[in-house]
Amino acid sequence: MIKKIFFQLIFFNLFFLKEVFAAESGGMPQLNPEFWISQIFWLTLTFGILYIVLSKLILPKISVNLELRKSQIQENIEAAEKQRESSEAKLKEYDDIISKSKLEANNIFKEARENVVKEINAKKETLDKQIDKEIKKVEQEINLLRKGASEKINKIAIETTSELLVKLIGTEVNNSSISAIVDDLSKRNGDKYYGN
């Protein structure tokens, strides 16, 4: 109930205000021209001073402050960007150095390996040559021995044959005929005995 009355009062008040404003009744001190000139004068004076001081002294300073801050922040950002770039470049350089040194190490390793392989091959060759030489020497000796051996065997065979004949028959047989037979035998069966 009371609330309703209040709301009505608010509305009536608004209407009342509007009517006062519309009627321009004497109830409004605003419409009393007694101090109008004074108000105009003081308004012009204070507002004028305010405008002059603000526009000449204060606002340029604020503007400069804002610009300075903006440029300073910009500069800082640029400096940070530059440093980032330089650090990136350094990182790249570092990577380059590392990869280069890796390549170099690889090369050195390869070279060393090749050298070692070459050396080993050279040594192997000389060794092979030496071995071949010795084998040839030994073969020649063997050949010599083999050649000598057949003659010696023939001789032995002739002597033993003549002695055997002396003992068996009691007569000496001509050495030359024995040797002819032995030679003939050895020629025929030499392959069997010497394995050639």
Binding site: I2, K3, F6, L9, I10, N13, L14, L17, V20, F21, G27, M28, P29, Q30, L31, N32, E34, F35, W36, I37, S38, Q39, I40, F41, W42, L43, T44, T46, F47, I49, L50, Y51, V53, L54, S55, L57, I58, L59, K61, I62, S63, V64, N65, L66, L68, R69, Q72, I73
Partner: protein, 244 residues
């Protein structure tokens, strides 16, 4: 204070009567609050612009935020051509805002609740804008009253309407601010009167209204200053860019 809600708007002389020729320019309570508002603005913005630290302190932040707020408002509504008039619009906005806000303190006088004050401010704007328009565009500024794309038959009527609307700008500008401030303060006074007359039993409801109205009035104080400034920007835009 008297029970009449209109007595708060009365102007009275402070100190002796000062005469300039035939005119009475005595220092009044209205003059006092104009001086206080101007001084407050100057002190706050002087403190806010004194030293420039990379990380602004509170008062510097306040000054710089106001600066960017007003400059953004101007560039949004009137474009970059309006830059030379920045200080005027800034002063206007701050003066109206501070007068409105100072009026919200109990037992103070609201300068902007007087039609003559708001009318003089609006007249500054109107005359200034008209002069700027004629300087920028010469006699071509009158094209403002002839909108393009209007049938020739309607043109005389439209031109008359445009002229009337142009001439009524200072009146609408001043009356808007004055009426808002006066109505708000009268309402608050009326509700305050209800609190007293209804006493401890019934006074709580109007008291709560009074509290809510105080918040609303602070909002209105800011809003009306903003509207005053932004309308000034719009008028300035008409004068500078002339595309109607």
């Amino acid at each position: 204070m008297a029970a009449n809600p209109m007595t708060q708007f009365e102007v009275y002389r402070i100190g002796p009567e000062i005469k300039l020729g035939a005119f009475d320019i005595s220092f009044t309570n209205a003059s006092l609050f104009m001086v206080i508002s101007s001084l407050a603005i100057l002190v706050i913005f002087n403190l806010g612009s004194k030293k420039n630290s990379l990380l602004p302190n509170k008062i510097q932040l306040l000054a710089e935020l106001s600066y960017t707020f007003v400059s953004k408002m101007i560039s949004d509504t009137a474009g970059s051509k309006a830059k030379p008039y920045f200080s005027f619009i800034f002063s206007l906005f701050m003066f109206v805002l501070f007068c409105n806000i100072f009026g919200m303190i109990p037992y103070t006088f609201t300068v902007t609740s007087h039609i003559i004050v708001t009318f003089v401010l609006a007249a500054f704007v109107f005359i200034g804008v008209t002069i700027i328009g004629f300087i920028k565009h010469g006699i071509g500024y009158l094209k403002l009253f002839v909108p393009s794309g209007v049938p020739i038959v309607l043109l005389p009527l439209i031109v008359v309407i445009e002229i009337i609307s142009y001439l009524s700008r200072p009146i609408s500008l001043s009356v808007r601010l004055f009426a808002n401030m006066m109505a708000g303060h009268t309402m608050m006074k009326v509700f305050g009167g209800f609190v007293i007359s209804l006493g401890v039993v019934g006074g709580w409801l109007p008291l709560s209204f009074s509290v809510a109205l105080t918040g609303l009035e602070i909002l209105v104080a800011f809003l009306q200053a903003y509207v005053f400034a932004i309308l000034t920007c719009i008028y300035l835009n008409d004068a500078l860019n002339l595309h109607h």
